[in-house]
């Protein structure tokens, strides 16, 4: 099966019974749930807790996530990497430092009400399609949208709301008023130019552009920030971002003349060595305008998976705050581990060094989602036992430890019935809204267990019985889990009642009300230096992107119709002139080799497609080109893999 494409593996249907892969065996065989948990429990009891790693996918609902982190900490480790480590960890780090909360501050109503929305390093048409209707509503209310990205994306050009016959008949709504085709990693340079433009506008119209009152009352670090900005050379900034004064002028005017400003972003901002600095520079611009903590304004890191934000709220974090651990200790009467655990990159590095004996994945497709696929795969094979909780097959079931177990679980669309009573889960979206998620479809097999049941069984098989940890009761009634969450996690008062309201409820968000939980209680201006934009070791900078027919690592089809590409994923989008310079036409087959600190990684057979992308930049699909992303290329502080800045060379394939 490992010779199959990820697309084919994913189409092989639901897993309906637990499966076991014995050491040296080449095929999985069915195993009973009891035997599976006995094997897992025995292994966990035989090793040091810090030799085990417990990964979480963003699909994991609040109830499961809470019990899972409780189990892992009761077992004795904080090795709780999650998919957030690979996407918005830079946002969490940057926002936490500057605004005191690692989440966005806006609500959907803010998006509707905004006068200006900057969509930076994000492709909502493909990755966050429901956001298009929010932008459409913003436009209908008179708002302006600026899209900043190395690639033009159809979704932000024009959107035809499929729910509206009128929209279909009239041909849709133009979303972007301005498109700034920034160079890869030119965002900080562009943001600094926008800020400089605002200062110049303020000089021309004193007191009418910057929000001096907000800056004085709510922010700190302004003078240092301004002094550093003054020293930046404009010519260098223009060169780094690849934009012209003419292109930026109307956007500066928009920002100068409006106060309700939202900046949205995604992986184009976070997956850089300087991902945290990128986020902090976004905050600088918003602070100049006082565009935080008021209607129609704020930060909007747009997340992908349905509960990636909620999992972190529930304590899925390798660097848990002391207040969470204290609350767990107080509620459940145990001593939680205080030493920080491994994040995703650290987990892989530890596996490579034979420091990890046991790996557990609560959902996801770790091998395909992570960088440096070959290195990660080999590292995974060093583990003694790997366990995956899954609904469908993926590559991570094939690249395993010496022994492997697959625990099949109910999907969130499946009805979850415990003791004859239908249960529901809760999740938190990017806007901090907690709401229900309830499956309705009959499960494909009676043998499937819910994720909550799996965690409870895992705990029972591993931990000594403790009165405070009521695994058997929690398994049967998720309301009881929510009671525990309410007792431990701030913001969940009256959880079981509030989450039954039709639209759920908003979690508290300090930045939304200008209460900044930072060291001095104020929002922080920061100084962020210009990052590398030119390749040093190779000829091109590669970014990895998603196609329209995929959702994270799941490939639903082989088309990317918004980019005009059908039935193929092994493509490399390349600037027309760069292709011409190489004498290549559309269809040229090439091999791609990344270079990082002298190390080389290579993938073969990709089709060149001349594309509207800045010179010396190329784009390929994730996860096929994760193999080129070096494990050592990661964001400062957040450790997010730098998948949007990979130095590569292209070579005509031997067969072409």
């Amino acid at each position: 099966m490992s010779t199959w494409s990820d697309y084919k593996i994913g189409r092989s249907g639901r897993i309906t019974e637990p499966m076991y892969l014995a050491e040296n065996a080449n095929h999985y065989t069915p195993i009973s749930w009891e035997d599976a948990f006995t094997k897992i429990g025995s292994k966990l009891k035989s090793i040091d807790a810090d030799d085990a790693v417990f990964y979480t996918s963003g699909r994991t609902a609040n109830e499961t996530a809470f019990l899972y982190q409780l189990f892992v900490r009761a077992y004795g480790t904080n090795n709780l990497p999650d998919c957030s480590n690979m996407c918005h960890e830079s946002s969490g780090t940057g926002l936490g430092r500057t605004l005191g909360i690692g989440k966005g501050s806006v609500t959907l109503n803010d998006l509707y009400e905004a006068e200006v929305v900057l969509v930076v390093g994000q492709n909502p048409g493909t990755n966050h399609p429901r956001m298009l209707s929010a932008l459409q509503k913003c436009k209908a209310n008179g708002g302006k949208v600026v899209h900043v990205n190395p690639l033009p994306e159809v979704g932000t050009e024009k959107f035809v709301d499929p729910q509206s016959p009128v929209e279909i008949l009239k041909g849709g709504t133009k979303i972007s008023d301005y498109f700034l085709q920034v160079r890869v990693n030119g965002d900080i340079a562009m943001l600094k130019l926008l800020a400089k433009g605002l200062f110049e506008a303020e000089e021309a119209n004193p007191g009418r552009v910057l929000d001096r009152e907000f800056i004085a009352q709510y922010a700190s670090g302004f003078d240092v920030y301004r002094a550093q900005l003054n020293q930046e050379n404009k010519d260098q900034l223009y060169k780094d971002c690849g934009l012209t004064a003419q292109q930026l002028k109307p956007v500066i005017e928009l920002l100068a003349n409006n106060t309700k400003i939202i900046i949205c972003w995604a992986m184009g901002i976070t997956q850089h060595v300087n991902g945290v600095a990128n986020v902090q520079e976004i905050v600088n611009l918003l602070l100049l305008k006082g565009a935080v903590g008021k209607p129609g304004a704020g930060t909007c890191p747009v997340r992908g998976h349905s509960n990636v934000q909620g999992d972190r709220t529930m304590g899925i974090f390798e660097k848990p705050p002391t207040r969470l651990l204290d609350a767990l200790d107080g509620r459940f009467h145990f001593q939680s581990p205080r030493e920080h655990g491994y994040d995703v990159v650290e987990s892989i590095e530890a596996m490579a060094e034979n420091k990890v004996k046991f790996f557990f994945a609560m959902g996801g497709n770790f091998i395909s989602a992570t960088p440096d696929s070959a290195f990660t795969g080999k590292a995974m094979q060093n583990c003694d036992l790997t366990v995956q909780v899954s609904t469908k097959l993926n590559r991570s079931h094939l690249v395993t430890g010496k022994e492997a177990i697959i625990l099949p679980c109910l999907a969130r669309t499946d009805a979850d019935i415990q003791q004859g009573k239908k249960q529901f889960y809760t999740v938190e979206n990017s806007m901090g809204v907690v709401h229900q998620s309830k499956g309705h479809r009959p499960a494909p097999s009676a043998a499937l267990k819910s994720e909550v049941d799996i965690v409870c069984s895992l705990a029972e098989a591993t931990l000594s019985a403790q009165d405070t940890m009521k695994w058997s009761s929690w398994r049967n009634d998720y309301n009881l889990i929510r009671d525990e969450i309410e007792a431990v996690i701030p913001g969940f008062d009256d959880y079981n009642r509030k989450v039954r309201q039709s639209n759920g409820f908003h979690l508290p968000n300090g930045a939304r009300v200008r209460q900044f939980n930072t060291s001095n209680g104020k929002a922080q201006f920061t100084v962020n230096h210009l990052p590398q934009v030119d390749p040093k070791e190779a000829e091109y900078i590669m970014i990895t992107v998603r196609s329209h027919d995929q959702y994270n690592t799941t490939i639903y089809g082989l088309d990317d119709r918004y980019r005009g590409i059908l039935n193929e994923r092994r493509v490399v989008m390349m600037n027309d002139e760069d292709a011409l310079e190489r004498g290549w036409k559309r269809g040229q087959v090439v091999d791609i080799e990344s270079v990082f600190r002298g190390e080389k990684r290579r993938v073969e057979r990709f089709i060149v497609i001349p594309f509207n992308i800045p010179r010396k930049c190329v784009a390929t699909y994730f996860p096929e080109c994760n193999a080129l992303v070096p494990i050592g290329a990661k964001a400062h502080e957040s450790n997010t893999p730098a998948s949007k800045f990979v130095e590569v060379n292209l070579y005509a394939s031997a067969e072409s």
Binding site: S2, V433, G564, L566
Partner: protein, 104 residues
């Protein structure tokens, strides 16, 4: 060590090109959504399920459920729209089909 391939196969699958579309979603988006949904759990089962989910969860946030629900919602609404715009002859058969599956 098992002989497993860590990287996906490098076979090309037969690329085709279309003219870059000028707008997102719309009717074409709906047909693609219908195809995906059909492949995942079957068209009518999918529509039925998603109708129930959408009733409870729709429009809370842009990214709550990712691609599948979004497509399903678009799909459902377009089926309704098509129904409204269909000639009477087609409308009747579509209506019977959808009603019998609890979609409308």
């Amino acid at each position: 060590m098992r002989d497993v391939k860590i990287l996906p196969p490098s076979e090309l699958t037969g690329i085709k090109f279309i003219k870059n579309p000028k707008k997102a979603a719309g009717v074409k988006g709906v047909t693609v959504a219908i195809r995906h949904l059909s492949e995942e759990i079957g068209l009518f089962e999918g529509l039925k399920l998603m109708t129930k989910v959408i009733k409870k969860m729709a429009l809370i946030a842009p990214d709550v459920h990712g691609l599948t629900l979004n497509n399903a919602q678009s799909c459902l609404n377009t089926v309704r729209m098509v129904l409204r715009l269909s000639p009477k002859r087609l409308q009747k058969s579509v209506l019977i089909l959808l009603s019998s599956n609890g979609i409308l």
